[in-house]
């Protein structure tokens, strides 16, 4: 535990050292990255101990009324801390080359300070054992993330993205205040204690607590339809910040929801079903929106929504398993969900790093202005390809393993005669939905990889692109290696999963209720050895096939020529299929949700003049739901405007007045 606290201190203070040294030689940035990595290594070292050796919660007195500084480490916290320390440390190395002090003198220092504080805040909230410490970490995370998203605040879109983010995150915080107040009311303490007994929380209170948690944490996780802040924030932040946000920060929503749900020993089945439904919606629509995007980082952001959907599917299945006393569903559902938390962190960070490396080299995020980068940037192209295969859930990489666990949970629900109709039909209809999500993700990443890395370069910038230096490629390589490793040897990660599942299920059952069986180990339910064997066999077959083709074409291959293109002898790069054309028929299939907008020219004369066509897919929830609602609200609130003077003294006066009223009321 002390090692984790030391890690939090080191990471949190990493950016401050740079404030004290001069700008010359970039000493500040190197110190920051070094401190961050040392801190991250400390944190990871602390997690290597077996879950039983984590020790008790550490409680220190502090001066905040009603509170004490209570932190602790268990399997669930450890599972969320591991990707946090790994990805943020790799991000700090990547940032050394991606966001050099020399290139960004105005934002470099700020970025480092708040990057460290963001990581520290995230770690603090994961180890928090009472509501106050949790909120402290939560707000550190929220505010630092805002200041990181707005690194390039001279651009209007960036400022707008930052404001939208700050609005959403504070709506979430408000919900959290209500949530923790209700929990305190039910349990009598701010600490996170099980709320199982009949005396502590009535079903109605428990239901409200669950819905508040779903709202607050769903907002942070970016689950549909609470995702409105996510695409623009991820697109506008610097790429290594996007990687941490997508890989780690949004997972805090998953962590919070899992933690709160773990406090209820026998939740009603509709809780799990609700999370499950939200997961389905996010999964399918997240990837459908992704297909319509033209901006590589915005597209990746929508894939985060999709993957949060997959994670929620598993969490919902695990929770249903707890309600129905089916320990094997807890192990498979929660296990798949938590493994996907790791996997998504790894491959999404890898994809954001690779996208950042493309942007760094070409200066654009627009898919249709790239192309052919595999020749100039072979390492980046390989990393992106591995990330793409992993995120589509294809064997033999890590994404397949976590989706396989989920499918296995569905299969067991469907095959088992004990399952009630609700459970097995739900599971039987979710599996095709998960398959649809996978197929759509495949289409989307084939589109991205094809448009960006394959074919001919569409612009001069793309033609001149080259791989970045080792500071950027080594972190990408490490992440890619982790994706391959988990895919080939999934048995390596089961101890961490079992620890987290045990921590999640280790609540004292209420007196009188049937005791909850401890869920079985993941490895005993899932044929992970078979998966490794099949992956090895696949690699062997691939090697054999490649050797065969190589041997057959080595001597016999003619000189390279033009692409045949059905006999057309002068193809040009602009004649390639663009990413928009590739996606068009899928966008049309989902037009009912995506509401694509196209500005087509009207052809009037026989010889039409120069004209332009443009199409884009805006965010339906934001544009068609939230924006009109906010406008209505603003109109309705105009009569209240006299309170808002914009005068600091007036606001101080209001606060004084409120405090006085509260004191008198007490």
């Amino acid at each position: 535990m002390t090692l984790v606290l030391l890690a939090i201190l080191l990471v949190g203070s990493s950016g401050f050292a740079g404030l004290l040294v001069g700008r010359a030689w970039g000493a500040g940035e190197r110190i920051a990255a070094a401190l961050h990595c040392v801190g991250g290594a400390c944190g990871l070292a602390a997690l290597l101990a077996p879950a039983s050796a984590f020790g008790d919660a550490l409680v220190l007195p502090w001066s905040i009324p009603e509170g004490e500084f209570s932190v602790g480490l268990d399997g669930l916290s450890a599972l969320f801390l591991a990707p946090l320390f790994l990805i943020s440390s790799l991000g700090s190395i990547y940032g050394l080359a991606y966001w050099r002090e020399a290139d960004h003198p105005e934002s470099g220092r700020r970025l480092r300070v708040f990057y460290g504080l963001l990581t520290a805040g995230l770690a603090l909230l994961v180890v928090a054992r009472n509501a106050w410490v949790f909120l402290l970490g939560w707000e550190f995370m929220a505010v630092s993330a805002f200041l990181l998203i707005t690194s390039e605040d001279h651009e209007k879109t960036v400022r707008e993205a930052g404001l939208l983010y700050v609005f959403c995150t504070h709506v979430g915080t408000l919900l959290l205040f209500a949530l923790f107040a209700l929990m305190r009311h039910a349990s009598g303490t701010w600490a996170f204690v099980p709320l199982g007994g009949v005396a502590t929380a009535s079903p109605a209170t428990a239901g409200v607590i669950f819905l508040l948690a779903l709202g607050a944490f769903g907002m942070k996780a970016g689950a549909m339809p609470l995702h409105v802040w996510l695409p623009s924030a991820h697109a506008c932040a610097p790429s290594h910040v996007s990687a941490v946000m997508s890989g780690v920060l949004i997972k805090m929503g998953v962590y919070g929801l899992a933690r709160i749900c773990s406090l209820f020993p026998s939740p009603p089945a509709w809780w799990g079903a609700t999370i499950f439904a939200v997961g389905l919606l996010s999964g399918v629509l997240g990837v459908a929106f992704a297909i319509g995007q033209h901006d590589i980082k915005r597209l990746l952001a929508y894939h985060s929504i999709e993957n949060i959907g997959i994670i929620f599917l598993g969490l919902g299945l695990g929770l249903v398993g707890r309600s129905l006393h089916r320990p094997e569903l807890i192990a498979l559902g929660l296990g798949g969900s938590l493994l996907h938390v790791w996997n998504h962190g790894l491959f999404k960070a890898l994809l954001f790093f690779s996208a950042g490396s493309v942007m760094h080299s070409t200066g654009t995020r627009a898919l249709d202005r790239l192309g052919g980068l595999a020749k100039g940037m072979p390492r980046t192209a390989l990393c992106f390809l591995l990330g793409a295969v992993a995120i589509c859930g294809l064997p033999p990489l890590n994404g397949f393993v976590s989706e396989f666990l989920l499918y296995l949970g569905f299969l067991r629900s469907v095959a088992s005669a004990e399952s009630g109709d609700g459970l097995w039909i739900g599971a039987a209809f979710s599996a095709p939905a998960l398959a649809l999500i996978g197929a759509l993700a495949l289409a989307c990443f084939a589109k991205v990889y094809g448009a960006v890395f394959l074919g001919e370069p569409r612009t001069d910038a793309a033609r001149r692109a080259h791989d970045p230096g080792a500071l950027m490629t080594v972190p990408m390589g490490i992440l890619a290696g982790a994706c391959v490793l988990i895919g080939l040897a999934p048995a390596l990660v089961t101890p961490a999963l079992d620890g987290a599942i045990a921590a999640w299920s280790a609540v004292v059952p209420p007196a009188g209720a049937a005791s909850v069986h401890a869920p079985p180990q993941v490895a005993s339910l899932a044929p992970l050895g078979w998966l490794s064997a099949m992956a090895a066999l696949l690699l062997a077959l691939l090697a054999g096939g490649a050797a065969f083709l190589h041997a057959r074409t080595r001597g016999a291959a003619a000189e390279p020529v033009l692409t045949w293109d059905c006999g057309y002898a002068a193809p040009s790069p602009t004649m390639q299929y663009t990413s928009s054309s590739f996606a068009q028929s899928l966008v049309d299939l989902f037009a009912w949700a995506l509401r694509p907008r196209a500005h087509a020219p009207r052809l009037t004369a026989i010889f039409p003049p120069h004209s332009e066509f443009e199409s884009h897919v805006p965010d339906t929830v934001l544009d068609h739901l939230l924006a009109p609602a906010c406008r209505r609200l603003a109109d309705a609130a105009t009569w209240f405007r006299w309170v808002q003077q914009g005068n600091t003294n007036a606001y101080l006066f209001y606060i004084l007045l409120t405090v006085l009223v509260l004191l008198l009321w007490r």
Binding site: F404, W424, A446, G450, M534, L541, A556, S581, L589
Partner: protein
């Protein structure tokens, strides 16, 4: 003794999967020829084609990278691996474990990803068009396949292909005939779509603008194209093996009789595909999604009938 039999069976499985598939293609072509009143190519023509292609030289476009060559390799390797988890004639497949049907479906996904990427690697507008169609249509075929497989899981109560399609299947027809018919029709549509047959795609068309799969592999030639062609025949064989096993779950106890019934069933399926190709025209591309959605709904109905 048991080990020896197991080894023999493994060899037999590999031999059947490795050698039989092109014959099904030949059978389809022959059926179509007879329908058109022609003699047609010999039944063994696909073997000659593949062997000829493997001996030829290759031309590669200078636009392409290693991804272009990876397409055929991944396509063949994944198909051959999938062949090891599909049971033939009700006997257990060489490899069988809980959830192998998921791996079966996802291996084809991996092959599709690399085939599409290889097509996009050429920078040709035609191949991009084919790739986009393949990606779109498979998004709709995938749920139909999963609905069908999960209906079988519910019926058999088992988690692997081998036991799902094993000995108990014949009894299921008595109790759940209607759902099984729906599932079989849906899987047959998936088979036609995934293997680029009429009415989804026309393997013999001459206009690149209307092709799906053929246009994706326009630039592949020689050994690479031979691998693609061979992988396509194996893929048809595997999906066909699942359908045939559901349709004629013969379990006489005599492996030779069972095997013979299974092979006859496969050729009947090939003839059926040939008949469909002879009596129907290819659908317009905009109508293909409706057909695939219909397949999804059919198997979803099949699944729903199993409730209660």
């Amino acid at each position: 003794m048991g080990l020896l039999l197991g080894g023999l069976y493994l060899l037999l499985h590999v031999a059947v999967v490795a050698t039989l598939p092109p014959l099904l293609f030949g059978c389809i072509v022959k059926t179509k020829a007879l329908f058109a009143g022609r003699v047609g190519a010999p039944l063994l023509q696909p073997y000659y084609d593949i062997l000829k292609l493997l001996r030829k030289g290759s031309v590669f476009s200078r636009t392409t990278t290693w991804v272009f060559r990876a397409g055929p390799v991944v396509g063949l390797a994944t198909t051959l691996l999938a062949a090891l988890v599909v049971p033939l004639a009700g006997r257990n497949a060489p490899l069988s474990f809980a959830g192998d049907l998921i791996l079966f479906a996802y291996l084809f996904g991996l092959a599709r990803f690399f085939t599409i990427c290889a097509a996009l690697d050429t920078g040709s507008a035609f191949e991009g068009m084919g790739a986009a169609r393949e990606a779109t249509f498979s998004c709709l075929a995938e749920p139909a396949l999963f609905f069908g497989l999960f209906a079988l899981v519910r019926l058999s109560g088992s988690l692997s292909l081998s036991s799902m399609l094993g000995a108990g299947l014949a009894q299921e027809w008595a109790g759940a005939g209607a759902p099984l018919v729906l599932v079989v029709v849906s899987l047959f549509i998936v088979l036609l779509a995934e293997n680029c047959r009429i009415p989804v795609d026309d393997p013999n068309t001459h206009l690149e603008l209307t092709m799906i799969h053929e246009v994706m592999v326009l630039d592949h030639g020689g050994p690479a194209f031979g691998m693609i062609l061979y992988a396509a025949t194996v893929k048809l064989f595997l999906l066909g093996a699942v359908i045939v096993r559901i349709l004629c779950p013969v379990d006489t106890g005599n492996p030779l009789l069972d095997g013979a019934a299974f092979v006859v069933g496969l050729f009947a399926l090939a003839v059926a595909i040939g008949v469909v190709e002879s009596v129907m025209a290819r659908l317009r591309l905009v109508q293909v999604p409706s057909l695939l959605v219909a397949a999804c709904l059919l198997s979803a109905f099949g699944l729903t009938l199993l409730a209660g």
